[in-house]
């Protein structure tokens, strides 16, 4: 469900920015398709300039394993399987979102001027889910695992979307960019207002990377998510007796330290492509180990 929110926010931001003439990379939906689909280059080329086709692919297509429709259907199946561990209200929130994504006229609306209305509707439902979970779910092991998944997913999203933005700049962080060129990333990760309030220099490249990676008050920064993971990991691991738990903690410790103790002054000059790749791989390794310790033993 965290991914649902992320996709919807990215799609909404891109859709709005794409209506502004001469915005960087906004005339094509290629970056979004590369992040959220497994389409080949030629398949992307066919639809990258057709917003309605892209929206259908990302929001409602059953064949896309990363579409909102597929993700919500899977979340519903999961929720059905653990109904005794989640509250009735939470189940209903997931279920109603599922029915919303299956409404017969959704695709038709995505082809016209009501497209943004559909995205907004889905976003509202997704935010409602987050609020209901927070208000009704008892704190305990179930909650801890939900949060672990949520922050793992969120840190990965931040890494992937930031990496994509840097890729659009050909990883050239030496050339200072106008703030409007970073708008897509900041808006997609709900960070535009935070950025304006926090950073007051013109060194946008460095400051934005700082916000995405190291700003402890920004809920989408990698360090914010890793700090939360650390807390929930400690809670879930304390009663676990498996041999792999020490290896899991070491993997997480390395990952956490890598971000926590990186030199903020070097953000603009580091090899960002290599750094994001490493971070992504280490998050995947941690995820796999986590799954092995708790679910696949």
């Amino acid at each position: 469900m965290e991914r649902t929110q992320s996709i919807l926010r990215v799609v909404r931001s891109h859709y709005i920015i794409s209506l502004d003439n001469d915005s960087i990379g906004s005339t094509t939906w290629r970056p979004i398709l590369e992040i959220f689909t497994q389409l080949s280059d030629s398949e992307i080329a066919q639809i990258e300039k057709k917003p309605d086709a892209v929206l259908k692919k990302i929001l409602t297509e059953s064949n896309n394993t990363n579409s909102i429709k597929t993700i919500v259907a899977r979340a519903r199946e999961n929720a059905r399987g653990v109904q005794n561990h989640i509250t009735k209200e939470l189940w209903e929130a997931v279920n109603s979102m599922y029915h919303l994504t299956n409404k017969p006229h959704l695709n038709q609306k995505l082809s016209g001027p009501e497209a943004l209305e559909v995205v907004d509707q889905l976003m509202q439902q997704s935010v409602l889910y987050a609020g209901i979970a927070d208000i009704t779910m008892p704190r305990g092991i179930g909650w801890d695992f939900m949060k672990l998944g949520k922050y793992l997913e969120r840190s990965m999203e931040t890494v992937v979307i930031t990496d994509k933005q840097c890729q659009l700049f050909e990883y050239d962080m030496q050339q200072e960019r106008d703030l409007t060129q970073w708008r897509f990333l900041l808006m997609s990760l709900a960070g535009y207002e935070v950025y304006l309030k926090t950073y007051r220099t013109f060194k946008h490249n460095n400051d934005i990377l700082h916000q995405m990676l190291l700003n402890e008050d920004y809920p989408h920064s990698v360090i914010f998510s890793l700090t939360r993971i650390s807390r929930y990991l400690r809670d879930v691991i304390k009663d676990n007796e498996s041999n792999e738990k020490l290896a899991l903690m070491r993997t997480f410790g390395r990952l956490y330290s890598k971000v926590k103790y990186m030199d903020p002054e070097r953000l603009g000059v580091m090899d960002s492509q290599a750094f994001f790749k490493e971070l992504r791989n280490e998050l995947l390794v941690f995820h796999n180990q986590l799954e092995k310790v708790f679910f696949s033993y």
Partner: protein, 484 residues
């Protein structure tokens, strides 16, 4: 099923002596052809539905004002017309050059008038005109402002005459408002006409807050690496408060009232939970008179005592500079073409509307004789207040107004009534022409003058009316600058 707008052209009737921006006598103008074709695909119900969506969006975002009826507050939105107004890139280029030229001259005038006053010594502008201007502030004479920039933010009101040319109607150099409507109108258009917007190659305006923020930061002392900028508002009861909060949020700066600031040792500080923090730049949305009770209105509780002292010492930059009102006085307006010639040695790119100074007996005589073809304006008022429209005023009202004007001629100017251009508007389920003006917003910073391509188009929603002010029942619409 509602009727298709196939009668669109048939029903659309405009006056022959008017410049209609969509339609000339032969056909739809090229820049409107795509929008026109789009509108033809829609029926009245679709347009009504878009109108309702737009109203709902304004309401949800809180872009409203409150009217009171039986002690109950009712939230109303400022009227927005859904059909965009279109200006070509070529026309815009001329507007941009004309406004930049005008602002350069007006800025040099302000620097001159608060320092050497060479323009008076050279008898280009009469000293008596400046001396009698209530917005000329002797208290700021000789104060050096950063980069010699006085007019950081301006809104220049333009109208389009029956010859299709743009004319300057008014300069707004103090605290021009309306820019939030320009930005919000575009956001609403993105929601109701996304395809039309995307297919028309419309220039973007969304970077306005970024440009403004950059200029505000650049005005801080160069020795400060992390300057603090605040927006000073009179408070929540001010009619433009929505705009103040909107701009503060868009720039990520603090929105403060006078009571949030304090001056100590000629430096300005903001009260925060962490203690006092120095402020380097104030974007004030407060009139000069209220800014500092030690200097101006003694009973002002909206300002900050000691602020002008800090300003004089160069410890704070205030945007716009104080005393700008002397340059946008309606009587001084008539001298702007001479200013352009005097300071820049250039001919004005944008012309003024012919203006009669009623302090001149000959001009007064002419205006009184021909008042039915004139609009008479109070030089110290804005928003359409104190304005006499000669073509609509009753005999009784005119006799009353005439006495007031004759008793204080310096306070009045007159201009021939210009038939503002018309644009298509969706009103009461029909598409009909309405008169409009245009207020583009210019930003003047250390790196030059920048205009976001567009502006606020204000519409006189009443049929035949030429009064576009929102306080007089006017509305607004999105303005597109399209590249052919």
């Amino acid at each position: 099923m509602a009727a298709k707008t196939e009668h669109f052209l048939k029903d659309y009737t405009y006056k022959a002596n008017n410049w209609d921006e969509m339609y000339d006598s032969k056909a739809v103008r090229k820049q409107y052809s795509s929008v026109f074709a789009n509108l033809q695909q829609l029926d009245t119900d679709s347009l009504l539905s878009k109108h309702n969506i737009a109203s709902e969006l304004f309401m949800n975002q809180g872009i409203t004002f409150t009217v009171y009826d039986n002690d109950e507050g009712i939230e109303r939105i400022f009227p927005f017309d859904i059909i965009p107004r279109i200006i070509t890139g070529t026309e815009w280029q001329r507007i941009e050059q004309g406004i930049a030229q005008r602002l350069k001259a007006l800025n040099l005038f302000l620097k001159d008038i608060y320092n050497e006053q060479q323009i008076i010594q050279d008898q280009i502008i009469p000293a008596s005109l400046i001396a009698s201007c209530p917005h000329y502030k002797r208290e700021v004479f000789g104060i050096k402002v950063p980069y010699d920039i006085y007019v950081h933010i301006s809104g220049i009101d333009l109208i389009r005459g029956s010859d299709g040319q743009f004319y300057v109607l008014e300069d707004n150099l103090r605290t021009p408002s309306g820019v939030s409507y320009m930005l919000e109108n575009r956001e609403v258009t993105k929601r109701i006409f996304p395809d039309m917007l995307a297919s028309n190659n419309v220039r973007r305006i969304s970077h306005y807050p970024v440009l403004l923020h950059e200029i505000l930061l650049e005005l801080a002392s160069t020795q400060v690496s992390n300057p603090r900028v605040v927006l000073l508002t009179p408070g929540i009861y001010n009619s433009a408060y929505y705009e103040h909060s909107f701009l503060a949020r868009q720039m990520g700066i603090d929105l403060v009232e006078g009571r949030d600031l304090v001056v100590d040792n000629h430096k300005v500080y903001m009260k925060t939970t962490k203690g006092l923090e120095q402020v380097h730049v104030i974007y004030r949305r407060l009139d000069d008179e209220y800014l500092d009770p030690l200097i101006f209105m003694k009973n002002s509780v909206l300002g900050v005592p000691g602020l002008i002292g800090a300003y004089r010492k160069g410890n704070i930059a205030i945007v716009n500079a104080l005393g700008n009102g002397v340059a946008d006085d309606k009587a001084v307006y008539a001298y702007v073409p001479e200013m352009i010639k005097y300071y820049l040695n250039e001919d004005p790119i944008l012309q003024n509307v012919p203006t009669y100074q009623l302090s001149n007996p000959d001009a007064m005589h002419h205006v009184l004789k021909n008042y039915q073809n004139m609009v008479i304006k109070n030089t110290n008022q804005s928003g359409g207040y104190g304005m006499v429209m000669g073509n609509t005023i009753s005999e009784k009202e005119w006799l009353k107004a005439k006495v007031i004007i004759e008793n204080n001629p310096r306070n009045y100017i007159a201009q021939p009534i210009v038939q503002l251009s018309t644009v298509p508007c969706f009103i009461n389920g029909k598409i009909a022409p309405r008169h409009v003006d245009l207020r583009p917003y210019a930003l003047y910073g250390p790196r030059g003058i920048k205009l976001v391509p567009g502006g606020l188009t204000r519409v006189a929603l009443k049929e035949g009316s030429l009064v576009v002010n929102s306080s007089q029942g006017g509305g607004s619409k999105d303005t597109w600058i399209v590249d052919e």
